[in-house]
């Protein structure tokens, strides 16, 4: 299973919450990431999330998307299910891993 954020959601992601403006991390998580994650978890498949092809990301968008999954589902090790592809900016992989760890501690 794969999500390409630029193709499946928007090339111009926004901020954290829906109230902050369009194309938010909360909106992306609610509409696309969470349903796909739950589906992948049920089917015991990998979910590939591709960050390439867009204009870029705010840290708050990324944190709310992936950290939000942890906060809502209370799942540990979501990155065993979600695989991140980010060839344009490889640093995002480590950052997302950090966000997930921080969210697990909360």
């Amino acid at each position: 299973m794969e999500i390409n954020i630029a193709k499946d959601y928007t090339r111009a992601p926004g901020g954290r919450f829906i109230k902050d403006g369009p194309n938010s991390g909360e909106d992306f998580r609610n509409k696309i990431l969470m349903p796909k994650y739950l589906e992948a978890k049920d089917k015991k498949e990998k979910l590939i999330v591709n960050l390439d092809g867009g204009y870029g990301y705010a840290t708050s968008f990324i944190e709310e998307s992936f950290g939000g999954i942890v906060r809502i589902t209370k799942d540990k090790n979501i990155l065993d299910i979600i695989e991140i592809i980010s060839n344009d900016s490889p640093a995002w992989k480590q950052i997302i891993a950090q966000y997930v760890r921080d969210a697990e501690k909360q």
């Binding site: 954290r16 902050d20 204009y55 840290t59 900016s89």
Partner: protein, 377 residues
């Protein structure tokens, strides 16, 4: 003897009856008149007092020669620019804002720009911010008027900045210059504007979307800061809003961003008071030190969570990695700047700017942004 006493008593009773009778007549007729007269008298007296008071105030203003009637004339300095003349420019704006705090109903503010010889976009943005963002404008029915610089270059800059879109102006509408993105503004995060700016830059530099990834992320982070990290309180002067301007120069593209929130030092001070319950004066820092601390990621200005507040440290990192150049940030009394090949320079001024003003340049000859940017971690 008994007869005499009786007569006296009778007379007294008679007199009492007459008196009562008379009192009744007075209370019905004259009492009403007396009531009205007293209310009228009181009203008149109050009115006269008010009139006299206003007359005294007016006379005082006229005699000082500083303010006539209810108009404040703000004479702009010849160099109206935070970048080139910070102290005088801050003083000019601060005087206006301080006057608005006096809450004089119906006050008119006249921006006299006629003597301005050097004008930069940051000052134009700030004028717009005062016109549009003061919370008290509608409450106290403030009116803002002004004139344009006589200096041709300054006038041209004002015309091409997009200033006239924000005011009812007699000046003709100037077509947008293709070398500029005129001042845009918003209260929410606007990814569409950020992407349009990236397209503008990519077209100039003949690059693709990957070239402006870091730029897009900077713009989004700054807009996000405006919505997320400004404490919003009743006593705040301004509504939090962002302003952005982009200009294609010879070798670089300049960006100017203004956020009319509370400003970094005030936001951090609030955090110290709220979270550590220690009076901030014990740990008093200069405003520039607060700004530098924020750029280094030492304070999380609004929220407690470590995953937030990466915006400014991240941008500062790009400046240190030379992805962007001539980075400068003003907030309250402080200013920090990172110029090419020089260490960060911090300064504090006597006057202050309300909100946060940033500027930086993108070198057109940059082939790519350095990978693995720290993102403020």
């Amino acid at each position: 003897m008994k007869k005499q006493i009786g007569n006296i008593i009778n007379n007294m009773l008679y007199l009492i009856c007459i008196g009562v009778e008379r009192m009744k007549k007075i209370s019905y007729h004259q009492k009403v008149m007396m009531d009205k007269k007293s209310k009228k008298y009181l009203y008149q007296r109050t009115k006269n007092n008010k009139k006299n008071k206003l007359k005294c105030i007016k006379n005082e203003y006229i005699s000082t020669g500083i303010i006539k009637s209810n108009t404040y004339i703000a004479n702009a300095p010849t160099i109206l620019s935070f970048f080139h003349n910070p102290e005088e420019t801050m003083e000019f704006f601060e005087d206006i804002i301080n006057d608005t705090k006096k809450h004089r109903f119906g006050r008119k503010y006249f921006f006299n720009l006629s003597q301005v010889e050097t004008l930069t976009i940051d000052a134009v943005m700030y004028i717009i911010a005062i016109l549009k963002n003061l919370k008290t404008t509608n409450i106290y029915n403030f009116r803002f008027e002004g004139n344009v610089p006589q200096n041709e270059l300054s006038k041209k800059l004002l015309d091409e900045s997009g200033f006239h879109k924000f005011v009812n102006s007699n000046s003709r509408n100037v077509k947008p210059n293709t070398n500029k993105i005129q001042i845009v503004t918003g209260k929410l995060l606007d990814p569409n504007t950020a992407s349009e700016i990236c397209d503008f830059v990519n077209e100039i530099c003949e690059k693709d979307i990957k070239f402006t990834k870091a730029l897009y992320e900077i713009l989004i982070e700054l807009m996000d800061n405006t919505t997320q990290h400004a404490y919003v309180e009743k006593e705040d002067l301004t509504v939090s809003q962002w302003y952005l301007f982009v200009e294609n120069k010879d070798n670089s593209i300049q960006f100017i961003f203004l956020d009319t929130g509370k400003g970094i030092p005030a936001t951090i001070n609030k955090k110290i008071i709220v979270e550590s319950k220690i009076v901030s004066t014990i740990f008093k820092k200069n405003d520039s030190e607060f700004i530098l601390s924020t750029l280094n990621g030492e304070f999380r200005s609004k929220t407690k969570q470590s995953n937030r507040g990466k915006g400014l440290p991240w941008i500062y990192n790009h400046a240190n990695n030379k992805n962007i150049s001539n980075f400068i940030i003003f907030s309250r009394n402080g200013c920090c700047s990172v110029q090419e090949n020089n260490p960060v320079k911090c300064m504090d001024y006597k006057n202050q700017i309300f909100g946060t003003l940033l500027a930086w340049e993108l070198n057109k000859n940059n082939n790519t942004f350095k990978e693995d940017t720290d993102y403020g971690n």
